[in-house]
């Protein structure tokens, strides 16, 4: 506001009232409209988010038909509820209620920004059964191949993530290797030209599985009973 305006306001008390009245009215109207659209869209948005997670979930846990959410707490894995805080696990079950796998979120810095994925862990074969990219801003046509390159996704049909004898971490680190040089089931065949994005996927899977696979195996009975 110019100094002219301030002087005018000092000379004319009516102007102050008019300014307050206008801004007050507009702000009230604005609040009403925002709250209204929030209330109207909230259930639809929640439903969209649920559908998005389930779509990804059933993709990374082959054979899953229903799901149950769990939370990792200091006391081990517990069924998710409003009060519990911690890392969320999504357990997937088949039609007969048998545990088919657990889906987890993992994230790491990619080429441009953080890449977030959902991956499915099968506690019976102790391997990763699939990945689904939730959010990324990788270069189109290069880094975004991690979401659709068929040869790269082949890595995650049965990527070994076996827990070692001490039960603290993985027997073999999940590592990326150059395209075509994969010899071990815990190696990830990278995408040539998208090394940083491929490495990010390997790193986030390794970090997450190192920490979570032992926890899942320890409390597998709770997960199996969950359906």
């Amino acid at each position: 506001m110019s100094s002219e305006g301030i002087n005018q306001a000092a000379l004319d008390p009516g102007l102050t009232v008019r300014m307050l009245r206008t801004l007050g009215l507009v702000a009230t109207l604005s609040g009403l409209l925002v709250v209204l659209s929030y209330r109207v869209t909230l259930p639809i948005i929640e439903e969209n988010k649920r559908l998005a997670i389930e779509r990804a979930l059933f993709k990374v846990i082959p054979g899953a038909a229903t799901r149950q959410d769990f939370v990792v707490t200091d006391q081990g894995i517990q069924k998710a509820s409003e009060e519990l805080e911690g890392i969320t696990l999504y357990a997937g079950y088949d039609q007969d209620g048998r545990l088919k796998g657990v889906a987890l979120e993992a994230a790491a810095a990619g080429y441009q920004d953080v890449i977030r994925i959902l991956y499915g862990y099968d506690p019976y074969c102790q391997c990763i059964r699939g990945i689904e990219v939730l959010k990324m801003t990788e270069t189109p046509g290069i880094g975004d191949k991690i979401a659709k390159d068929p040869v790269f996704l082949e890595n995650f049909v049965a990527l070994e993530a076996r827990v070692d004898v001490s039960g603290q971490g993985l027997e073999h680190e999940i590592v990326p290797v150059k395209r075509g040089t994969k010899t071990q089931p815990w190696q990830i065949d990278s995408i040539s030209g998208a090394t940083i994005s491929s490495n990010a996927v390997a790193r986030m899977l390794n970090d997450s599985a190192q920490q979570m696979a032992p926890i899942i195996l320890k409390d597998i009975a709770i997960l199996e009973a969950g359906a």
Binding site: L23, L29, K49, P140
Partner: protein, 219 residues
């Protein structure tokens, strides 16, 4: 400027058409370049962004026009921004409800409609001085011009950069996409090319007009 006497204009077809051609916000006024360059990488993104901006433009201009005798000039910009931000928030929720994929693709650019100078510019230069009818028609015209401009960038970039249109593949698997077109530089290339086309058409029309006028002066 508010405070000057109303220079109310008569509503005509031109009130609408001006936004499409003569005062096209992108190709003529070069306003709102940020979303134009950033989210015109596919036709769907461009269309969604254009429609969202049009809604905000028309709705905020409607309110500004209704309240134009009521807003003291000292707080007019603050008032316009509150009004614009309100409608942007509504659009933000609406897009999340329509499609999360679309919402993720548009990213921060929905919220950034608040600072699109095309919208504030219309509120200041047009809606604050004109009656409701003219404002709505002009807003729809400008919005259509903006959407059309975004779409003309989006269509070209998607076809060249991905070999598809509205997500439908146009060519066979042998098509090698021109990836740079969907990356940021592609936005500048295509915008530059369209500006060239527009400038050329304008020049051509002016020359035609000149040629038609010359004989009249002679006779």
């Amino acid at each position: 400027m508010p405070g000057l006497p109303d220079t109310t204009e008569k509503v005509s077809l031109d009130t609408f058409l001006r936004g499409l051609w003569e005062e096209n916000p992108v190709f003529v006024m070069l306003l709102g370049m940020c979303p134009v360059l950033a989210v015109s990488n596919t036709a769907i993104n461009a269309l969604a962004m254009g429609l969202a901006s049009t809604f905000v433009l028309v709705a905020s201009n409607t309110l500004v026009s209704l309240m134009r005798h009521f807003i003291p000039k000292q707080v007019r910009i603050a008032t316009y921004i509150i009004i614009i931000a309100t409608f942007v928030t509504m659009v933000d929720y609406a897009i999340q409800a329509i499609s999360l994929d679309l919402y993720n693709a548009l990213g921060a650019f929905i919220q950034l409609i608040v600072v699109n100078c095309m919208i504030l510019g219309r509120a200041e230069a047009y809606a604050s001085k004109q009656p409701l009818g003219a404002t709505i028609i002009n807003g729809v015209g400008i919005g259509a011009g903006f959407t059309l401009a975004l779409l003309s960038l989006g269509v070209v970039r998607e076809i060249l950069g991905m070999g598809s249109l509205f997500g439908i593949p146009l060519f066979g698997d042998s098509f090698q996409p021109w990836v740079v077109m969907i990356l940021p530089p592609g936005g500048f290339f295509v915008l530059g090319a369209w500006l060239l086309v527009f400038a050329w058409v304008k020049q051509y029309r002016e020359q035609r007009l000149d040629q038609q006028e010359v004989p009249q002066h002679d006779s």
